[in-house]
Symmetry: C2
Subunit: 174 residues, 2 copies
């Protein structure tokens, strides 16, 4: 086990600015490409990260600390960002993500004091008993998984363009 609150926050606080530097100002070609029918483009991934800040991580953390294992926390709709939102620029979305994340990190820091709270358990609606420390670790890895998705979606766009080099590029293997 490697988790510490300090090191988890190191990643959580870097994700929005990292994505901002990578994605702001990119051509629509990069932002609107996807991996085929039913897959998300880069802009939609940011929409999903925003939903997580609003409805997933901190609400669940608060729920566990309040309810313990007494009742399962509500499930999170992983597709809600696709429902009828007015279209916004990537810069607007990244700004919203950054503001929400900053606020949530300060909430997180308060919620895990004292540190014994990391061991509090709750009831996940699908797979049962989970700990606060597992929820926060998952928040970090969830950031990483969607950063991986973003670069994978972008790489896919050049699958044919790289010609014979595709065999050397792990990201194009699937």
């Amino acid at each position: 086990m490697h988790f510490t609150v300090k090191e988890a926050i190191e990643v959580l606080e870097r994700t929005p600015q990292t994505l901002e530097h990578f994605l702001s100002g990119l051509s629509d070609g990069w932002l609107r490409c996807n991996e085929g029918e039913g897959t998300w483009n880069v802009s939609e991934v940011i929409g999903h990260l925003i939903e997580g800040e609003k409805n997933n991580w901190i609400p669940r953390l608060e729920f566990i600390l309040q309810e313990g294992e007494s009742k399962p926390f509500p499930s999170f709709d992983r597709y809600s960002h696709l429902n009828g939102k007015p279209e916004r620029t990537i810069e607007q979305k990244l700004l919203e993500f950054k503001s929400l994340r900053t606020l949530n990190i300060s909430k997180l820091q308060k919620l895990v004091e004292p540190e014994a709270r990391l061991e509090v358990t709750g009831a996940h609606p699908a797979f049962g008993v989970v700990k606060v420390r597992e929820l926060i670790s998952t928040w970090v890895v969830h950031d990483l998984t969607h950063m991986a998705q973003i670069v994978r979606v972008m790489a896919e766009r050049y699958r044919a363009d790289v010609g014979p080099w595709h065999q050397y590029l792990g990201i194009l293997k699937k």
Copy 2:
């Protein structure tokens, strides 16, 4: 096919600053973890990107434009960054990567004028005829593949910490 020089440069110019914002100041725990024996940690990945700027992309591009298919360009040692370099901080490495990349983008812009040069062919030592446009596309996807590697290596560190959530996290599937 999607490649354009303009859009390729959009990614190439963002990679160093993106990695700088993500990795500067991270704990050694994040920077020194790897995926097991014989795999690279985050700091070694940046070393590899630096080697690419020095010995791979622009030198190969110049070689193709000079020699055409008449002789194969020299192969690139993908492990050279592991050989006896004095240890440097991640910030020093990121700074070197950024400086080299800036210089190489300005070289690239000169080398692909006029645009007909994108169709010039060279001889890859392993798989034969390749085009300039394929080499530049590969440079872009190579950035993306190593960004994917960095977040995957970091996610691996929390494999046990996420508890039952591992089944929802694509980045932990292997």
